[in-house]
């Protein structure tokens, strides 16, 4: 009888070991702990984390120690006779008071760090972060009024996500336009959202702030070590919640200045480009690229959409209807679709509208110029 039950008990143990095998043989990385990060805040948080962790270990060793001791010694099969005590005021007082003391010891440094985190004054630089489904927009606020703003989108190709190609090192943690910040400077983030709630998180900075429509919340960081720091959206925000990473490049001041100037020049160039007239071919090709990057995640690459959720572009009433309505939908969004008027330049909007009206069997034959989009926006 005993033999049989013993054997049965060993079975799950084997199952456990066998289950571990594949994981072990492919083992390359077993990350265990929170990052210490590269800011004073992230280091303080890491310190708190370790401190409370060791308290838990100590309490655990005592409690589980007593428990295993008693399970081993006070068992009927070893002839233990039950005692009858069921109260002991001293003991009960002790194990109420000691935890209180430990908690007070923990609360003091936790409060200090909290004060530190909440001190958003005297920033050298302000960046407005806006969460969109499913991308981030960064706007560098400039006292001269020449703000720089751009969107930051995932660049991991679909082929990697669908396993057609091997995954790169920064799979799902790479973007087209990272945020740049200078090291050694206090950077204040003003965090908000345009549609649903998102959350902007970079573990190495120790910053996580929910991006909430209607609110602008503050957070700050001062990075000490140059480098590339990666994070993700941490508040469920719909379908592509897992696909809107955050990438921050912390660089020397000079490099930062050069980058910012580059951005400004690009903005001026776009303002120029808006005045040009493009050929149908140019519009169609650029439009296709814009479509695949911004639209295909919902309306799909074949323009067929997802029944009941995302309407098809092929044969769509809007894409085959009046041009003004079509531009309006792209610029302002609606019925669950985000507005693209800010994210896309007038050139891009003109291109993608032209593309949609002439692709997927929508042979409208018309073309839209950047200036049409500018006029539309001004007419609003």
């Amino acid at each position: 009888m005993l033999g049989k039950s013993k054997r049965l008990l060993v079975l799950p143990l084997y199952a456990f070991l066998v289950a571990l095998l594949p994981a072990v043989s492919w083992a390359t990385e077993w990350p265990l702990n929170m990052t210490e990060g590269v800011t004073s805040v992230s280091r303080e948080i890491h310190g708190l984390h370790m401190q409370i962790f060791w308290w838990c270990v100590v309490i655990g060793v005592v409690v589980f120690g007593v428990m295993f001791y008693t399970m081993f010694v006070h068992r009927k099969s070893r002839g233990a006779k039950p005692a009858h005590f069921h109260e002991n005021v001293t003991l009960e007082l002790i194990w109420t008071i000691i935890p209180v003391i430990i908690l007070v010891i923990m609360a003091v440094p936790a409060t200090k760090t909290l004060v530190h985190i909440y001190d958003t004054d005297d920033a050298d630089l302000d960046i407005l972060i806006t969460g969109y489904q499913w991308k981030w927009k960064y706007e560098y606020l400039d006292s001269q009024g020449e703000n720089v703003s751009f969107f930051s989108l995932l660049t991991t190709p679909t082929s990697q996500i669908t396993n057609a190609e091997p995954k790169s090192e920064h799979y799902l943690l790479e973007v087209d336009e990272p945020m740049y910040i200078p090291i050694g400077k206090k950077v204040r983030f003003l965090v908000t959202a345009a549609d649903v709630i998102h959350s902007w998180w970079v573990p190495a900075l120790g910053v996580k702030r929910d991006a909430i429509p209607g609110y602008i919340h503050e957070a700050w960081t001062k990075v000490e070590v140059p480098g590339v720091y990666r994070g993700q959206c941490t508040e469920l925000c719909g379908k592509d919640h897992g696909f809107m990473p955050v990438v921050v490049h912390a660089v020397e001041q000079a490099e930062y200045d050069a980058w910012l100037e580059g951005k400004r020049e690009k903005a001026r160039a776009i303002a120029e480009a808006v005045k040009q007239t493009l050929t149908f071919q140019q519009l169609y090709e650029q439009g296709e690229a814009v479509y695949n990057k911004n639209c295909a995640s919902c309306h799909l690459a074949d323009g067929k959409g997802v029944a009941g959720v995302f309407p098809a572009i092929a044969g769509s009433k809007i894409a085959t209807g009046p041009v003004a309505d079509h531009i309006n939908r792209v610029v302002k969004g609606g019925v669950g679709m985000p507005p693209f008027g800010e994210q896309l330049s007038p050139v891009d909007v003109a291109a993608v509208v032209t593309f949609q009206r002439n692709a997927f069997g929508n042979n409208m034959g018309d073309q839209i110029q950047p200036i049409d989009v500018v006029n539309f926006k001004q007419g609003q």
Binding site: S5, L13, A15, A19, A23, W26, E29, P31, L32, T35, L48, C56, I59, V63, M67, T70, M71, H74, R75, K76, A80, P82, A83, F85, H86, E87, E92, T96, P99, V100, L103, M106, A107, A110, T111, T113, L114, Q160, I161, T162, N163, L172, V196, I197, S199, P203, K208, I212, G214, H217, G231, Q232, T234, E235, L236, K239, H241, G242, G308, V309
Partner: protein
């Protein structure tokens, strides 16, 4: 002649017998446990490796949402109501529940609620996909059309819970046998009494918040819509004002179960009975004052953040008292380790581990790193799976002989325990690591950095799932062909429920017993 049960389907449809209704609750919960389990295994199968293999991201979100809703409202809560139905009258020497017809109603609306909820999977736009916490505006302006059915289902579940709670309070306060004073009641009865008050306090809040969603979606209001002057953060405050007491609704009755089982198998009275009662009451009261610890990152002002941090840390004290009491109950006992005891001991150890991570999460600055990562997923699964689920399992093994008059197979029971124990730790322990390493929760795909821990979790989850199929087999086998049980069933058992024959007759305590 004593009345026996009616025959056929009408017995179950029209029954007002607390034992019949208890059984129906338990079977219903078991069914929901498997349904929610299937959703979980779909999630774990997708997360087995990086990349998208099995489901679309939108469907993945439907699975995480439905898994949470079904497990919380369909598996854990009804299971405890089922246990209360069976055990509370027998433990206090009452012939039945105080409000038997309402009892029937509160059960029978549940299958409709869940049929409605499950049917959303087949609707255009799919099932709810905004998480079991359904934060607005993702669950309002941006929700699939099925959200309206979800709201209606939640209303029905809430009504059922409130009726169940009223019934339990009425029973405990009015139907105790002579001599059964409040401070003589078994702890399971006490914890349920307190839980019932929590339910009555917070289920209307849940009903309120979903009604506000309904108004926003269909009647042009803007409670949670910033563009209309509303406030998405208000949603979270209301939700968690319900949500935090809710997590205690799912654990207090578990404390009661374990406080019944450990003394039985330690053959020694429960240590610190009255401090257990007071600790339960203080946890319940504190549970109303800590809700915003789920919202440390929403940008509350400093002082709000600080107060909620301190209150949350304070909850660890009465929770600790309970654990110390259980350990001291075992101390110098004469222990045997039958299946209910194994599950209860695992409860104490693993629930404590969940309490530790809870304490870590309570440290607001540290929560900036933990929040909405797999670390939180590890925390709440440690308190809910080896907490709520293990206690329910322990209760079934412990009282099944009384319910059906037959014993389960001890060897199979222990095998079930070890499979579940290993499966669960394999599933949830690695989540601490993937979370600390930076993996957010509720994502269908992830960087290969997290791959090993995820694979381990997925393997563990299938082991855990298989263990529950074994559980079903064990229960059915016991009912059909188990060895006959004695009336006392366990050598160390105490309490009124063990004074009646096994199986418990259809009507018990029609004349009140004497309690001294």
């Amino acid at each position: 002649m004593a009345h026996g049960p009616a025959h056929g389907l009408s017995r179950w449809l029209y029954t007002t017998n607390h034992k019949d209704i208890g059984s129906m609750y338990l079977w219903f919960s078991f069914a929901m446990f498997f349904l929610g389990g299937i959703f979980a295994l779909i999630i774990r199968a997708e997360l087995f490796e990086p990349g998208l293999q099995i489901v679309e991201p939108n469907f993945f979100n439907q699975m995480t949402t439905m898994h949470g809703l079904v497990m919380v409202f369909g598996a854990v809560m009804p299971a405890f109501v089922g246990l209360a139905n069976w055990m509370v009258p027998m433990m206090i020497g009452a012939p039945d529940m105080a409000l038997p017809r309402m009892n029937n109603l509160s059960f029978w609306i549940l299958p409709f609620a869940f049929a409605l909820l499950a049917s959303t999977l087949f609707m255009q736009g799919g099932a709810p996909n905004f998480g079991w916490t359904f934060y607005a505006p993702l669950s309002t302006t941006y929700a699939p059309p099925s959200v309206t059915f979800f709201i209606f289902a939640v209303h029905i579940m809430g009504a059922s819970s409130i009726m169940g709670a009223i019934n339990i309070i009425a029973t405990i306060l009015n139907m105790r046998a002579p001599g059964m004073t409040l401070m003589k009641m078994p702890l399971f009865v006490w914890t349920w009494l307190i839980t019932a008050y929590l339910l009555i306090a917070v289920m209307p809040v849940l009903a309120g918040v979903v009604t506000m969603m309904l108004m926003d979606i269909h009647f042009g209001t803007s409670f949670f819509n910033a563009a209309g002057g509303g406030d998405p953060v208000l949603f979270q405050h209301i939700f968690w004002f319900f949500g935090h007491p809710e997590v205690y609704i799912m654990i207090l009755p578990a404390f009661g179960v374990v406080s019944a089982i450990i003394p039985t198998f330690a053959r020694k009275p429960l240590f610190g009975y009255s401090s257990m009662v007071y600790a339960t009451a203080s946890i319940a009261i504190l549970s109303f004052m800590v809700w915003a610890h789920h919202m440390f990152t929403v940008g509350m002002p400093f002082i709000g953040e600080w107060v909620f941090m301190i209150a949350t840390m304070a909850i660890a004290v009465p929770t600790g008292v309970k654990v110390f009491n259980w350990v001291t109950t075992m101390y110098k006992g004469s222990m045997t380790f039958e299946t209910p005891m194994l599950f209860s001991i695992a409860f104490v150890i693993l629930f404590t581990i969940g309490g530790f991570s809870g304490l870590m999460l309570a440290i607001a600055p540290a929560d900036f790193q933990y929040h909405d990562t797999y670390f939180v997923v590890a925390h709440f699964h440690y308190v809910l799976v080896p907490g709520a689920i293990f206690s329910i399992t322990a209760a079934v093994y412990y009282w099944l002989p009384k319910w059906c008059g037959r014993m389960y197979d001890e060897t199979l029971g222990k095998t079930h325990f070890w499979l579940a124990f290993i499966g669960l730790n394999l599933t949830f322990f690695p989540m601490h690591f993937s979370g600390l390493a930076g993996m957010p929760r509720r994502i269908p795909d992830y960087n290969p950095l997290f791959a090993n821990w995820n694979m381990m979790s997925s393997i563990g989850s299938f082991l855990f799932g298989a263990a529950q199929v074994l559980f079903l087999y064990i229960v059915i086998r016991a009912i059909v062909s188990g060895r006959k049980a004695t009336d006392r069933v366990w050598e160390g058992s105490h309490g009124l429920e063990w004074t009646v024959p096994s199986p418990a007759p259809y009507h018990t305590f029609t004349t009140p017993p004497k309690v001294d």
